[in-house]
């Protein structure tokens, strides 16, 4: 793993899910150490892109390199690579039959041979980093949405991965919890020297902490640059998304899919 290579490098990637082409011709470079915001309306293919970065979805064409090595197809090698990637899922994915502390200890216990007391100490440090040292013994169901998100963040950080991917980190959170999560992401990225990719449609909360921004719409990357350049853009497609206009180049109607459309009776002109 060479350190000067970009954290993520996509060349000519085409992603197909359930026989439907979701993204095509994606070229993307995520530099190390930066926070990159991947923005786009719902259904634009952000989650599909995330699934491709973690190796869950193999690209139909093109090449994906993560942390300087091409994504392996072999399951064992893929699991090895995933130890270097922390993912915060939209639904948190905390194991409900384990306590907060056990959840965070899980990747440490599975992937390291550290003795119990050291793991307990590391878990306490991770909880401290997200400001939740007091709730280590609680079960996930006893936490608020914002706290559960922070626990999931601490668990994603457990193995000190060089690359963090956040999938819609603000969904379902109030403005204060959103602010807490965003400042945590920025602080952790700087203090731990991480590379962060934030996949979201929350433009205004994300842009202030992002170093780079990418906008996905209509199955391709429509903008790539700094947040400043994004604010100054005149592209009607990007502007529609930034301003939240209902009318514009991004279609409101769903793209037709085979077998899903309702049969509408033919409309006859009155004589």
């Amino acid at each position: 793993m060479s350190l000067d290579s970009p954290a993520v490098h996509l060349t000519g990637v085409r992603l197909v899910r359930d026989g439907r082409r979701v993204l095509d011709g994606v070229d993307l470079v995520v530099p190390r150490g930066a926070i990159t915001a991947v923005l786009g309306p719902s259904g634009s293919g952000k989650s599909t892109l995330l699934a491709a970065l973690t190796g869950e979805l193999q690209p139909a064409a093109g090449r994906i390199e993560v942390l300087g090595q091409p994504l392996p197809r072999d399951k064992r090698a893929l699991l090895q690579l995933r130890k270097g990637i922390g993912v915060l899922l939209q639904g948190n994915g905390l194991l409900t039959d384990l306590t907060v502390a056990e959840n965070i200890a899980l990747p440490l216990r599975t992937h390291t041979t550290l003795p119990g007391p050291v793991i307990d100490r590391l878990v306490a440090m991770k909880l401290h980093a997200v400001g939740l040292r007091a709730v280590g013994g609680a079960y996930p169901r006893e936490l608020s949405g914002g706290m559960a998100r922070r626990v999931a963040l601490a668990r994603a950080l457990a193995l000190d991965p060089p690359l963090m991917i956040y999938d819609e980190p603000l969904t379902g959170l109030d403005p204060i919890a959103s602010g807490v999560i965003m400042s945590l992401i920025a602080r952790l990225n700087a203090s731990l020297g991480l590379t962060s990719i934030i996949v979201t449609h929350h433009v205004h909360e994300t842009l202030p902490i992002a170093d780079r921004a990418i906008v996905i719409a209509n199955g391709r990357i429509v903008f790539s640059g700094t947040p400043g350049e994004l604010q100054a853009t005149t592209d009607p497609l990007v502007l529609q998304f930034l301003r939240g206009d209902p009318d514009g180049p991004i279609a409101f109607d769903a793209v037709p899919r085979d077998g899903l459309a309702l049969e509408a009776p033919a409309f006859e002109e009155p004589a």
Partner: protein
Amino acid sequence: MPFITATRSLGRAGLFSLSVLRASTPTRDFFVELTREIYKIGARSLPIIAVGGAFVGLSVTLLGYRALETYGASNQISALVGLGLYRELAPVLTALLFIGRAGSSIAAELGLMRATDQITALGLMAIDPIAKAVAPRFWAAVICVPLLTGFFCSLAITASYLEAVHVIGIDSGTFWQVLKDAVDFRHDFLVALEKSAVFGGTAALVASYVGFHAEPTVEGTSVATTRAVVNASLLVLMFNFVLSAFLFGK
């Protein structure tokens, strides 16, 4: 093409079973999970197995007594109850009660884990979800169901004894002697436990397979639970016939 679809899902279930066996590595975490599952699906099934066993013992005794009385052989009642229980009734009924009590909960738990991103999260943490969530449940069932069958037999025989000796009036010494002469420890009792281990493993594999692959929705979880109970029960009944034909055929 229903034939191709059926063959494909059979193959998938077979591969799933192989991956469960491959993922069963005896780590410390595995034993922690295994103990928890044995308590959850084994120990907590004890009450229904006890009640089920007692009533089966009572009804088989009553039924057998009426039939044997015609031939003046009513003191052979414990042989009939013993053989009937160990060879067929106890393994099958325990497995069916287990499926209703624990198989459904295995399918529902795994379905909900899928629906709430827990299985995805495990994969993303480079933890094999089959090793973490499925393998301990499978082995817990393989260990628990034979023990539950033994428990079922004890309760059924006790209930049968109480009815035959204290209600019907058969001599207590005859009851035990006839039972001892008729039932062989190796060929009847141990075979019952072996059958039960197969049934427990089958039930757990079917329930985990449908739960693990459930649609990540509320409806998907409920469909998986129903399917787990129906498919596992039918498979147990079919396997019971095949195993009985082989084991007791001679």
